[in-house]
């Protein structure tokens, strides 16, 4: 079945450094990928999404490129800010009409001053 893997459970970094969160997926047919962000004591919110191979998608300083050849959709930011501390989820639309999303296990990011 469809699945999403986020290898890092926790990423800790210093403000101003670049950050990359890994996301790989397995699917029979679907290629709609999403990143959601959840700040402490808040609900998850959509950060960005893509379905186009090799096209960079950007939002709020973050960017990600869907690479179908490697089944990856890594999230990157060139310079982390304290406010980027949050839980980040990668998600894949599951195969099938009217199907839902399957989420990865999430990566917690802590940005230190």
């Amino acid at each position: 079945g469809d699945s999403v893997t986020q290898t890092e459970g926790l990423v800790t970094l210093t403000e101003g450094l670049p950050v990359m969160l890994n996301c790989t997926y397995q699917t029979a047919y679907s290629t709609f990928l999403f990143w959601y962000v959840q700040h402490l004591n808040e609900a998850p919110k959509l950060l960005l999404k893509s379905s186009t191979d090799n096209k960079r998608t950007e939002h709020q300083g973050f960017h990600a490129t869907l690479h179908k050849s490697s089944s990856s959709f890594h999230l990157q930011k060139s310079s982390a800010q304290l406010s980027d501390s949050a839980l980040y989820y990668c998600a894949l639309k599951k195969t099938g009409f009217a199907s839902a999303l399957t989420f990865g296990s999430g990566t917690k990011v802590i940005v230190l001053p």
Partner: protein, 112 residues
């Protein structure tokens, strides 16, 4: 902005108890979802619906029932609650499966 509300916000029950979690959205979205969030597991889909009277099974449906009574209202029922169902539950809605999901504030359920 889409508005999704959940009630109650906190609930404590005992093993074997009956619990109903409520969700209402006011943006006429077709899709509504119930998730549970647990550390190490992320967000896991329990049930979802793409219209009043419709119900689809998610990835972790065991021990849960759901009902979509209207376009706005989606309920999650735990008829014999167990400690393993202690979790943070989120409801969400979207215009379609490829559209942004708007999440409610969550309900923290504790089963003793």
């Amino acid at each position: 902005e889409a508005a999704v509300t959940q009630s109650p916000r906190n609930k404590v029950t005992v093993t074997g108890g009956n619990v109903t979690l409520s969700c209402r959205q006011t943006n006429s979205h077709n899709y509504m979802y119930w998730y549970r969030q647990d550390t190490g597991h992320g967000l896991r889909l329990i049930h979802y619906s793409y219209g009043a009277g419709n119900l689809q099974i998610g990835d972790v449906p065991d021990g849960y029932k759901a009902t979509r009574t209207t376009q706005e209202d989606f309920f999650l029922l735990l008829e014999l609650a167990s400690p393993s169902q202690t979790s943070l539950y989120f409801c969400a809605s979207s215009a379609g499966v490829l559209y942004e999901q708007y999440f409610g504030p969550g309900t923290r359920l504790t089963v003793l």
